[in-house]
């Protein structure tokens, strides 16, 4: 859905994006992660056609963003990290203005407002002035403005910053719902826990470069098998050799009282493995699948990149 090739963006005295190439598959929810200053906001603004890069190409739904930025605006919605609302307008008028300025025919605007308001739990707030809304509700109105023209791509820059836990949970539900409707979503944040619930892909940036762009394991199991961890009640020196010899286990990490390994078998094979371990006399206390969360995944990518850099040097 989004294809970027050789993207370079310079600010005076600083290269914000350095020869970035990537793709974002349709229907995915991509977590755009990285430290402050990594280039996340600049990348989103380039994709949205709000900034003109120095070099490279960007395609959104087959439209060349650099050549036809105004065309792209019809197919995407964007929520800036510092969004604003027209304080003196009611929620309904904020949404009406957004719909009309996105070119929706007059006859369709009322329906679009009703649908968007219902999807965002704003139906009972339509007559309330934007200035009187809480931070969470303002965020929802801003998202409503970004999606009222039913874009195919939605770009969100730090959408959950400043929201309370309840509002964040509501936002997560909304993203899952939008994804189910076929929308491709790119969400930027440096608070990774909030992206964990709904992201299908991770795009990690650091110093203006892509350090990782891949599906997340929770949604796309690795080809090497599931990642399991076994824990013993007390150390057993046979443990390492036992797992090395096992045909379905590929050892990742081991200690005297635990191992982590990739297991290619299904859940029945896992039950068999547990029985064999107990029969072999290992004092097993736990055998469970390890799901790598986004934070771990990102940190692993950063560590891998650091290793690559040190090897290259």
């Amino acid at each position: 859905m989004i294809k970027i090739t050789g993207l370079i963006f310079d600010y005076p005295g600083h290269r914000a994006l350095n020869d970035i190439s990537l793709t974002v598959p349709p229907g995915s929810v991509t977590a755009l992660v990285g430290p402050n200053g990594a280039g996340k906001t600049t990348l989103l603004r380039c994709i949205a056609g709000l900034e003109t890069p120095l070099a490279g190409s960007i395609e959104v739904a087959g439209i060349d963003v650099i050549k036809e930025p105004r065309e792209v605006h019809r197919t995407l919605g964007y929520l800036s990290d510092f969004f604003g609302l027209y304080q003196d307008l009611s929620v309904a008028r904020c949404l009406e203005y957004a719909a009309a300025s996105q070119g929706l025919p007059d006859g369709d605007i009322a329906g679009a407002i009703a649908k968007t308001a219902a999807g965002l739990d704003l139906a009972d707030r339509l007559n309330q002035p934007a200035a009187s809304l809480s931070r969470g509700l303002r965020q929802r109105v801003a998202i409503g403005q970004a999606i009222i023209h039913a874009p195919r791509v939605l770009l969100l820059d730090e959408p959950a910053s400043g929201l309370d836990p309840e509002a964040r949970a509501g936002l997560a539900r909304l993203f899952v719902q939008l994804q189910a409707e076929g929308m491709t979503i790119v969400v930027s944040s440096h608070i990774l826990a909030e992206l964990d619930e709904y992201s299908t892909h991770m795009l990690a940036l650091r110093q203006g470069q892509v350090i990782e762009n891949r599906p997340l394991a929770a949604h796309h199991p690795a080809p090497g098998g599931r990642h399991l961890r076994l824990e013993l009640a007390q150390p057993d020196e046979r443990l390492y050799d036992w797992f090395i010899a096992h045909p379905q286990a590929a050892l990742r990490l081991s200690g005297e009282d635990f191992v982590e390994f990739d297991f290619t078998g299904d859940s029945i094979a896992q039950a068999t493995l547990l029985r064999e371990l107990v029969e072999a006399g290992f004092p097993v206390t736990a055998l469970a699948e390890q799901r790598e969360n986004l934070q771990q995944s990102y940190l692993r990518s950063v560590a891998d990149q650091a290793k690559e850099v040190s090897h290259a040097n």
């Binding site: 310079d10 056609g49 709000l50 105004r70 919605g77 800036s80 304080q87 957004a98 300025s101």
Partner: protein
Amino acid sequence: MLINNPEFRRNLWLEFTGHRLLAMPGVLGLITLAIILADGPDLAGNLQQLAMTIFIFIVWFWGSRNANAAMINELRDHTWDQQRLSALSPWAMTWGKLFGSTAYNWYGGLICLAVATLAGLATRGAEILVTLGALIASGVLLHALALTLPLHAYHHRPRPAQSGGIGWLALVLAFTFFTKTTGGSDSEAILWWGMSSGRDLFWLATSLFFGAAAVFAAWRVMSNALQVRTRPWAWPLFAILLTIWLAGLGERTSQTGLPFTGLLVAMAMTYLALFSEPTGPVVLRRLQLCRAHGDWQAWLEHLPTWPTTLLLAFVFALAATVSSPPPLPLVEFAEGPMSMAQLPPLVLALLLLRDAGLFLFFALAPSPGRPIWATVLSLGVLDFLLPFSLKSAGMGQLAWCLMPMGKGNPWAAVMVVTVQAAVVLGLVSWRWRLVMKEEA
């Protein structure tokens, strides 16, 4: 059609509330009633004058403030990105803001105009319509400028645009002062290119021309802000039109005055654009990449406007040299193979090239800071402080080599300024190579 523009409609929602709709005619009605009750000697004349004064306050002052705020508020309240992402065309966005943000002022202004028309018809006859037309056109001109300036400034340096809303006041005051001092009595005719015209009629024509130019400028700036790229032909075209307008005024109406006026206009517009447009390594690198790819359309779209009027300045300088214009008052060359009057324009154009180069030199610095102030400071030192100090120290010839104004060989003056420009361009080239080396 009007109401179908979402931006115009949004502004109407904000501007026209029930009590505001009633307040404006209420207040204006009370003021009119007070004048009528005062029962002065020239009631119709007083009413007309008062209505025009209130119009100037409501439309020129208050309206310009609103037009200025229309843009500044979008930038300050972070709603500008949403507008840039909309499907509205630059023209719809321009007139939606221009007439939407000032709709309430025009509402009050129209009431004033109605009173001024009725009172004026009784005292001055149909002539009043010309004056009122000029007032309206001037209002549009001021609103368009007040809308354009913060938007143009924002793309160069966002913060001043957001905090610099007070600029509208200086703008309107300057314009009011200008029209006041050039107003005079309509019985005094104005000569323009040999054509005689009444002052009000000339003011109307001028306001219409500059008003149309300001609206056009607002549309162009809006186009670029909405990522609809334009080619830089409008800026030099306006320089030419402004030259024609200015050269037609005053005593000198022959063609010989036009090139020299054009040179001064092109110089002023070059400095204005140079100091207000983004010009630095990012822009130059972009131009270089466009040229490398042979994409001349993109090259033109990304080209800043100041080189166009710089080029125009040289065209006018050559034309002025050929057509022997009157000498500059501040330049007096003693002797030389050419007539004394023939070289000043070329010297001025070369100085402009040198100054533009100096600005680029500072803009390409590793930490550019504020290239405008660095340039202004350097020019102050180069053109005034150093020559003055050297002359005071008895080194007049050395001072002349820095600023070859005053007595001297005109060919030498051209040579001196050419060398200065070449040195500065050499420095720019050196800085550019450093920028490229760092990038590599």
